[in-house]
Symmetry: C2
Subunit: 291 residues, 2 copies
């Protein structure tokens, strides 16, 4: 049996956008017994403590996790993997180990090696922003967001129920997905858009070298299509390197679609071009963003 | 000499997002003597009139332009070109003929054939939205937006000054650019993003056929990167077909950048990948959207 959420001490490792926003929601709603925050930078530790985002803040990992019933890893993916190995042997028996990393395959594989006394559940709330860090954190970030949960074969139903309770408590919509399936889907709707936005920004920047007026005429279309290119580079490198196969397939898939538009325009085949663009228009107009 | 703006009767042809928003600003600010609106659909004529967006509304083009000192064409590009031919011989001598079309080369070429008594100035306010039509119109749409003005060799300084006065009066930032240069720049920051967003939407929609959960996990990254794919298809077909050469070059340019990212990821060349992504990150983070 797991403790109910309100009796839990929760340690959040990584106080960037995701981790700190979660701490704020937990504290604001008095959803658990205690919120402990771990950050690498002393400045973030102090900011989190004085903002009242946590009950206890430290840059010492081992102090941070002392006696925690739930540990939540909220750093870039490869840091999560390294941290799992480091903290595994030191965690309270029965503790729930969650993460908020952007890919799930490698993390869940690492979770499988945790001591058998622990209960791992992979997770990924779908609510990133291009602004990162503690300064970007906010109460209510998770409200209405889909929160993917990827249990392992060894995860107990009680542990998954507690992870679900936590996601619900901050207003998110839990969605249980197998790790590989999650990674395939986010390659398409998150990692591909990031690379497309980055390539677009690079292409426009090159035009801007010859004619800087391009930045004067750039407006809402460029602003939104390129927005995620401003995301944290290290976070996305971790994502790309831990989801290479699926991402490469999605880039190739995208290139086929763009190539088809290019060829129809080159051939001035207006009827066929209209058909493809109208299909995309309908698909995009029908989809309602969760947030 | 042109009349000052406040003494002008202004006819706006096309009461979609751009045209109707301009009418609202002109009326709200009492910036001119009279605002006449022309729309194809009777429903739009009635909506515009009863919303108080115009002093006179009609679906008869010839009635709409009667006695106008300034005529502003605010329809899709190829409709603008057809309308120029139709109204040219009927306009008041000395009238300023402007447009708000998304490409300038073909429109300015058509403007060159207007009767010599008229003063043509091509124009393009950079403030589209993916929502179109009269319902999407709003006061203040042009505030802070760059408004490209493309005078012809025959355009008098007085006529360009009056067009500039109009753009400034609604809060826009006039930017005088030669038509071909405008078209090259918008191919990069507007037409390419549209095609990229459309190809992305098509790629995700194809994934969604196999696994509809993709729409559940799609969040802010996909939402923004794909937003402009929901734009009016006819409007963009007109744009693409009147700016083919520049758009094709920009697609190819973009494909090279995306291909480079793909190849570095395939080679797991993390250092080189980091360098390209960090450059794009900096370029995008430095640029401040006008709106």
């Amino acid at each position: 049996m797991m403790k109910p959420l309100r009796d839990c001490s929760i340690a959040v490792i990584g106080l960037g956008l995701m981790g700190a926003s979660l701490c704020m929601d937990l504290k604001e709603g008095q959803l658990c017994r205690e919120v402990r925050g771990v950050a690498r930078r002393t400045r973030t530790v102090l900011d989190a403590f004085f903002a009242g985002a946590v009950d206890l803040a430290t840059n010492d990992l081992h102090t941070g996790i002392l006696g925690a019933d739930i540990v939540i890893l909220a750093t870039p993916v490869r840091t999560i993997i390294a941290t799992l190995e480091e903290i595994g042997p030191r965690l309270w028996p029965g503790a729930l180990v969650m993460d908020m990393g952007s890919t799930k395959g490698d993390i869940c594989a690492a979770m499988a090696h945790l001591p058998e006394t622990l209960q791992p559940v992979g997770g990924h709330p779908m609510c990133g922003k291009e602004t990162a860090g503690f300064e970007a954190a906010e109460c209510g970030l998770y409200r209405g967001a889909t929160w993917v949960l990827s249990p392992l074969p060894r995860t107990s139903p009680d542990a998954l129920a507690l992870a679900t309770e936590l996601a619900l408590a901050v207003g998110a919509r839990p969605l249980v997905l197998e790790a590989q399936r999650h990674d395939r889907l986010v390659a398409s709707i998150s990692h591909l858009p990031y690379l497309v936005a980055s390539a677009l920004t690079a292409a426009v920047a090159e035009v801007g070298v010859d004619d800087p007026a391009v930045w004067e005429v750039a407006a809402g279309g460029f602003r939104d299509t390129s927005r995620v290119a401003a995301s944290d580079t290290q976070m996305f490198l971790d994502i790309l390197m831990t989801n290479r196969t699926a991402v490469l397939a999605q880039i190739e898939h995208f290139q086929q679609h763009l190539g088809a538009l290019h060829n129809l325009l080159a051939a001035a085949d207006e009827a066929a071009l209209r058909a493809l663009l109208a299909d995309a228009q309908k698909a995009r107009a029908v989809w309602t963003p969760r947030r």
